[in-house]
């Protein structure tokens, strides 16, 4: 059995799908039957051809115990599913179920895991073997924390035990910080334990280093990849810019850390992979062991992609007792896995933060993870790798600078000291304002070596001339044509032409684990400007797929899933599949997923260069989300064959005015709308169509800056803010269809026929971003008439847009009328969920269609509803992002999703809630707090049901009175602003469920503090009426019968009968 990591959350992203999928493949190769459990449908590992038995079920002890008793696995591999998988394995072990069924824990033994995870045990072990750790103590109360600080002094680092990605951690500089962080941390830790320790910080010359180590059962140990963090100690490694290999260590320093790492992995008894983080003092050469992760991790995914060494795959083989020397090196095919990879390039990883979505979130980066994803770039110089990595971030920057943009910071020194996501850009500006390397280093703690490299970029950018020599130099430093054009005041195309005329074109070099010592068999390439090109394009028919880049809100793992499926489909058809992507966490960038992998930025220039080198028959853009779609018109203008829906038709769908014309022709209803470029225009439009309106910039990704506006004052403030966000595109104003049911449809069209794969009914009313809504297949409340209308509209529109491949349409159903909200002729984020629910791999089918197959040939024509119910539910990063109100709005906020599947809606809904760790209670105290603006009448029925189900109801005074009139007994609690009793009750876990529904997009402070308290104290909470109603149904269903577990294979087989 392999346990996955659940939904994508901050601190646990696609890397665990990558590691889990590798593990499944590695185990099945050796003849094992794999039982896979994960609640996240958007994963390759949960494909029914990746594991023999796949459970998409909540990841909790109860469910897993059931599965274990049912499947009776021989072994459990706990180290592939991140912290979630590890914690679950520990809990399963503690509960005795493993012993009961006779399940062996594979790989690293449980007591090793505990020694690595439990701060106190770990510290003791380090002291035993003489390895230095920061002075610290595991404490369980504030008093103990104070006592420790009395001895060691401020600043101190506070870290709760057993939490994901350092949730709740932070540095305390004074008494006030200490009280706050310790109290919060104690609450978050599942075992109410905190590690408090001396703060080892960059300003004291402490750099951060990481080593990925592997060990097998015969005690063979190897170090896969040494990495150095650009951001020094004090910033979580997941939040740091990381470089591989280390740059500032000499042989003695490096061997010191390497030997220490091996000593530790031996002392722990790890059998598999392990990540060890070191603090290393640049000025004294001392080191400290900071942390150990006795499992595959985000860092091991990075190390795998940085070196070509498949850590998870090898760790899985070790777990079943193989030794490193028995495992072949799949990259070279002639050597074994028992060696240390070496590289002849530089790798830079940069985290991707979601602050563009969360404008109110605190942007400081520190010991707690806030980034949602990351990007990696490879170059032959540090400058090149760094600039390519920045370009890959998809934040509108072309490189470290020289792109006409500025760092979004007010105070440079403050930024150096307390960084946000903008620090590297601020450093470049700092050089411009006369800050020396030494000054910046003293404030920021960043190693001068890195600062000098950034300065090289700054100096060169300021002095370059329009000569062949300088252009070569610029390219070798990672400047893109757009930056060069900006510097030289030319057009990007002119630079490109000059380059090509002068034969300054990129060469592609291989990532081969061995720095060319042996011949590599798996083509994994990156661009650089050198003499020899190793890309060696084949003569086969080939198709290039452009990936989605770093995981961010609105552009999640779903798109990587689609890209991978497209690759699989092409390979099954015997076509060479080439993938271009820059996300080191993903399956798409695994060495054996595609026929050929280019690890590159997804900017126009970088992609076009590869196309010109490979000359593929066609390029597929519709699977990677918005990133590749943004390239469509430019590539089309260059005469590139874009497979699938024609870019001009994509443009029609995205251009609201052109789209409206088509809808009118097809007689498909739409909400009234208008386009405004000024406040005045906006007012005029709204006068015509009336409030409420939905406003957004005309080109959107994940509903960025989308808002429902109820009154003029909000309209004016929005217009001012939004126009600033996107000056080149007008603002779109739609009449907002209130109290409408929102529908998502995924369909495939081959030009002649249309296959409606699924109609998804949203639980929440229209107005909440579709990516943030809970939805259900099949629809629960739609008449056949409505469904037929939806199918009819979808079919008409798909044909009118000449869609080839996937199409996603959002509808709003209001008073029996079906309005179209928007249509996207590309893969939507629901594709994996739909594919898993209906057992049709949509992205694969779409790929075959793009390659000329017909739906009829594939037997896909009729819309069909499954005999079970599947609920998709998003998960939100509210806990990590302090200052953000945990409510739903037209702007997307979720990082990932889960699927709950069962015989009926209430059960599937319950499972989905469980899967996002919002375990609905079956009894206890429930708080119902409803905004004045909401119709309290709507809450009567559900309150009655809760009361009948035995819940004790608490309500704010107004609501309580209202309930009383309706004959519902409720206990009154004062408003928060009068008395914080509610907050205390939440903190003390006296409330088991919070139903708190805000009345407007800018709710008052009371609701905010209740919702934040619920989030921060892990109390289940619900913020919409519809979800509350569904929850009550779920609770009632659960009270009447136990929840069953069933594998996808079983669901599919039963459904066929």
């Amino acid at each position: 059995m392999v346990i996955g990591s659940g939904p994508i959350v901050i601190g646990q992203a696609a890397e665990f799908d990558y590691s889990g999928s590798q593990a499944c493949k590695a185990l099945r190769e050796e003849g094992y039957i794999v039982i896979l459990v994960n609640s996240n449908p958007a994963t390759i590992m949960t494909d029914t051809d990746m594991a023999d038995v796949v459970y998409v079920e909540p990841l909790n002890v109860q469910t897993l115990s059931k599965i274990i008793r049912k499947e009776k696995p021989d072994g459990l591999l706990p180290t592939m599913g991140g912290q979630t998988g590890l914690n679950l394995a520990k809990a399963l072990n503690d509960s005795g179920v493993l012993k009961e069924v006779g399940v062996k824990i594979l790989g690293t033994p449980m007591n090793s895991i505990e020694k690595g995870e439990d701060r106190e045990l770990f510290k003791n072990l380090m002291e035993e073997i003489g390895e230095p750790v920061p002075k610290g103590a595991a404490i369980k109360s504030l008093e103990e924390a104070r006592k420790f600080v009395n001895d060691v002094g401020f600043p101190v680092i506070v870290r709760p035990a057993y939490t994901l990605g350092g949730t709740g951690g932070g540095i305390a500089f004074d008494e006030k910080d200490l009280v706050e962080k310790v109290t919060f941390g104690l609450r978050l830790s599942p075992i109410n334990q905190i590690l408090i320790e001396e703060a080892i910080l960059g300003i004291n010359e402490w750099g951060e280093f990481e080593l990925e180590v592997m060990r097998d059962g015969n005690d063979n140990c190897i170090v896969i990849c040494p990495m150095e963090n650009v951001d020094p100690m004090g910033i979580h490694t997941g939040e740091s810019i990381v470089v591989a290999p280390t740059q500032a260590l000499n042989d003695h320093d490096f061997q010191t850390l390497r030997s220490s790492a091996i000593k530790i992995i031996r002392a722990l008894g790890v059998e598999g992979g392990c990540n060890i983080q070191f603090g290393f003092n640049y000025s004294t050469g001392e080191y400290r062991i900071i942390e150990v992760n006795p499992r595959v991790s985000r860092s091991s995914a990075l190390a795998s992609k940085a070196t070509g060494y498949p850590i998870a795959r090898i760790a899985a083989k070790i777990a079943i007792g193989m030794t490193l020397d028995e495992i072949p090196n799949d990259v070279t095919k002639e050597t074994t896995a028992c060696f240390e990879p070496t590289i002849d390039y530089v790798v830079v990883k940069i985290p991707r933060w979601p602050f563009d979505k969360f404008r109110t979130a605190e942007k400081w980066i520190g010991t707690q993870m806030k980034s949602t994803g990351e990007t990696m770039a490879i170059g032959r110089t540090f400058e090149e790798a760094l600039q390519k990595a920045v370009r890959s971030l998809e934040i509108g920057r072309k490189g470290l600078g020289f792109d006409g943009k500025r760092a979004k910071v007010d105070d440079l020194e403050k930024e150096f000291r307390n960084p946000t996501n903008e620090r590297i850009f601020a450093i470049l500006e700092g050089f411009g304002r006369g800050y020396s390397i030494d000054m910046i280093r003293r404030i920021s703690g960043i190693s001068p070596w890195f600062l000098q490299k950034m300065k090289n970029i700054y100096d060169f950018g300021n002095n370059m001339m329009f000569t062949k020599e300088d252009i070569i130099k610029a390219k070798r430093m990672g400047f893109c044509d757009a930056q060069i054009a900006h510097i030289l005041n030319k057009k990007e195309d002119e630079i490109r032409k000059f380059r090509i005329d002068n034969k300054i074109i990129p060469t592609y070099k291989m990532v081969d684990t061995c720095a060319a010592e042996f011949r590599a068999q798996t083509p994994y390439l990156y661009s650089t400007y050198e003499k020899e090109d190793e890309s060696n394009p084949s003569d086969r028919e080939k198709i290039m797929i452009i990936g989605g880049g770093p995981i961010r809100i609105g552009q999640g793992i779903e798109f990587d899933y689609c890209c991978v499926h497209s690759v699989f489909a092409l390979r099954e058809m015997g076509v060479e599949a080439i993938i271009v992507n820059n996300n080191p966490e993903t399956v798409s960038t695994d060495f054996d997923t595609s026929d050929k992998l280019y690890f590159e930025p997804l900017a126009f220039e970088d992609v076009l260069n590869i196309i010109e080198r490979e000359k593929p028959k066609g390029v597929i853009l519709q699977f990677g989300g918005q990133t590749p779609l943004n390239l469509a018109m430019k590539l089309y203008e260059k005469g590139i064959n874009i497979l699938g829906t024609h870019p001009l038709n994509v443009d029609i769908a995205e251009d609201r005015e052109k789209f409206s014309v088509i809808l009118n022709e097809l007689k498909i209803p739409q909400a009234e709308f208008g386009l405004a470029t000024s406040v005045e225009e906006a007012k005029k439009i709204v006068k015509k169509i009336g409030y409420p309106v939905l406003v957004r910039p005309s080109y959107v990704l994940g509903g960025r800056a989308m808002q429902i506006v109820y009154e003029e004052k909000d309209l004016i403030s929005y217009m001012q803010e939004a126009v600033e966000i996107s000056p080149e595109h007008p603002v779109l104003i739609d009449r907002f269809l209130d109290h409408a049911t929102e529908i998502d449809v995924d369909a495939i069209c081959d030009g002649d026929d249309v296959f409606v794969a699924a109609i998804m009914e949203h639980i929440e009313e229209a107005g909440i971003h579709s990516g943030d809504s809970t939805c259900v297949i099949p629809p629960q409340n739609l008449s056949n008439d409505i469904k037929n209308k939806i199918i009819e509209h979808t079919t008409k529109l798909a044909k009118a847009l000449h869609v080839i491949g996937l199409l996603n349409i959002q509808y709003a159903v209001q008073k029996g009328e079906v309005y179209i909200i928007e249509a996207n002729p590309r893969a939507s984020r629901t594709v994996p969920y739909v594919s898993k629910t209906i057992n049709v791999p949509l992205a694969k089918v779409a790929t075959r269609i793009m390659m000329g197959k017909k739906l009829k040939e594939l037997g896909l024509t009729e819309y069909r509803e499954p005999g079970y119910v599947s609920v998709k539910k998003p998960i939100f990063p509210f806990l990590k992002l302090t200052g953000v109100d945990p409510i739903l709005s037209p702007e997307m906020k979720s990082t990932g999703e889960v699927m709950g599947i069962d015989v009926d809606f209430p059960r599937a809904f319950y499972k989905a809630e469980s899967s996002i760790y919002n375990d609905l209670p079956l009894k206890g105290n429930v708080l119902i707090a409803v905004s004045k603006r909401k119709n309290k009448e709507d809450f009567v029925q559900l309150s009655k049901e809760l009361s009948e189900a035995g819940f004790r109801i608490f309500a704010t005074e107004g609501t309580q009175k209202f309930f009383q009139e309706k004959g519902i007994t409720a206990t009154a609690v004062p408003k928060v602003r009068e008395d914080p009793k509610i907050i205390d009750m939440i903190r003390n876990k006296e409330l088991n469920l919070i139903i708190n529904v805000p009345g407007s997009p800018t709710p008052g402070a009371d609701g905010f503090s209740i919702r934040r308290a619920a989030v921060e104290n892990n109390v289940p909470y619900i913020v919409t009426l519809e979800a509350a109603i569904a929850s009550v149904k779920a609770i009632n269903a659960l009270k009447t019968g136990e929840i069953m577990t069933k594998s996808l294979q079983e669901y599919y087989a039963d459904d066929k009968k």
């Binding site: 490193l324 020397d325 070496t342 060319a516 010592e517």
Partner: protein
Amino acid sequence: MYAILALKDGTIFKGKGFGSPSEAAAEVVFNTSLVGYEESLTDPSYRGQILCLTYPLIGNYGVRRGLFESDRIQVEGFVVREMNTFNYHRNSIKDINTFLEEHSIPGICEIDTRLLTKKIREQGVMNGALLVSKNEITDDDIARIKNKATSLDSISGIDLLKNLGVNEPKLLKAQDAKATIALVDLGVKMSIVRNLLNKGLNVLMIPGTTKPDQFEDYRKEYRIKGLFISNGPGDPENATDAIKLVREMQSELPIAGICFGNQIIGLAMGGKTYKLKFGHRGANQPVQDIRTKKVYITSQNHGFAVDNNSLEGTGMEVSMINLNDNSVEGMKHKNLPIQSVQFHPEANPGPWDCIGWFDEIKRMFIR
């Protein structure tokens, strides 16, 4: 400065020069270590070779004061992708460019070192010539350097041992010495000597040309308890005196050796050596103990190896092999106290996995 590197096969690399404006002609080899250029440059086993590092950024941590593998840069020329004069390390006292300049060694950078590495991998190590000049490279220069590369003798034909190692016996004393051993200095890496001293062994460094009768005198005078054959450059068959010495002493004294020393012991005991296609040079070489199946990651720098098949009947047995190509990495005699390794247990640069080997030979010497 300007620079070109010519290979015997006619390839010309044009790059930027650094270090000393001068010329070198030698065998071109590559090393895949990520760190350790200070140690590699001063390793006498690189005598007669132009060294190319595959890791592209070199010079990052400068050059320290203190303990190198010998008192000078031993490589004939240095090839890197990017030479960084800006460096940051607490022990750095100068940059890499200055270091090469001080030792009059030419260096070339800004060339496609991966292409160079692949050529060596595919065609085997080959001779090359390097020119670093303050003036622009002329066509005449190119022709001359090309010619130099093609006309150079193979490394086996060059007497690299001349002027290498001590000229006369030199005794280095250990603290709390347990015994004294003689070390045949064919260009020993100082880390080997330091390790022996650390194990409580006095080390009498003797010239590589020491004859058996001369050795008998030292043996008596210093009460020698063992013989150690050092690493060294080039073809082991050229070390005729050392081979003879081992042959004579095989039943008399415990004998150990590292790298070149391993090959010499192999030859002395009746085995054969051969030239590897492109050698083993790096810090990531997996070596497996045949008995325990345990694998160690080792540092290596050698172009020749002992022929496994030639050991039959010599009394020597292979104790360790290289996992990449199954070549001989360690030998032990069936009955006699003779053992040697092909890799570098002393590391510097490289992993410390096999540092325990010195304990093993200490036990052999102090029985």
